[in-house]
Symmetry: C2
Subunit: 118 residues, 2 copies
DNA sequence: GTAATCTCTTGACGTACGTCGAACGTTGCG
DNA sequence: CGCAACGTTCGACGTACGTCAAGAGATTAC
């Protein structure tokens, strides 16, 4: 994507016409692609599935890192990607930061992709 | 993803437990991530939307390239990614190759991602 | 205030990705 | 056959990405 630097706000759920509703312009396509890219990594997919299993309490970085067998720095990086895509939200509790999933964002992404949706 | 080289077959629609059904293992997460990655590019999103608008006749490379303002070589590369993910299918008609969308693959991906699905 | 713990950021490294021009294959048509 | 049109592959280039160690912030406990 060496064209325009993505200075977009992707923290809100994606909001544009579905893929199957007609030909998308470049801006809408970018909005969708950026959110897909946030999830298009095996580690982040796995992290999302873990967080979706604890939607209320959330899970902290120090518990996620050993579960995916990566350094905390790397997991923090992945969580940042997910956060910037609005897919998760982190709240501090003492020294820990508990991450919770944002199902609405995932749901919005899903609806935009759905070939039956238009 | 510098761990294992993805020698997986991704041409079939993704088939594993949904994200929200429980914690995914690394293999399932990879299967999902590879398909998401195939679509996680603004050009490919746009191409998919164009193809979904002509699901029966399909569109050939030489018509897609000017529509996204890229070289035919680049568009061919993107179509290859989509083809390897099972999201499109190309059939030759004379010198042209007409690409048609594979809504089942997109639908399967959508169901796996859906936070309401489990 | 000091120490301990958790988290995030920075810098660096290797790899993967998007793009193009040029070369190569394929198909159809004089 | 020889040529033209379409498509893919190859090689090269710059950029983006995933990873970690090391350091910097933040918060709690003593």
């Amino acid at each position: 994507m060496p064209k325009a630097l993505p200075l977009l706000d992707t923290t809100e759920p994606v909001c544009c016409a579905p893929l199957a509703a007609g030909v998308l312009d470049a801006a809408d396509a970018l909005a969708i692609a950026l959110r897909l890219k946030a999830l298009a990594d095996p580690v982040r997919v796995q992290l999302m599935s873990m967080l979706l299993a604890e939607p209320d309490t959330g899970i902290c970085t120090c518990d996620l890192a050993p579960a995916v067998e990566l350094s905390e720095a790397t997991v923090s990086h992945h969580l940042k990607q997910l956060r910037e895509a609005g897919l998760v939200e982190g709240t501090r509790k003492g020294t820990n930061v508990y991450y919770r999933p944002q199902p609405e964002a995932l749901d919005a992404l899903c609806r935009v992709i759905d070939p039956r949706c238009r």
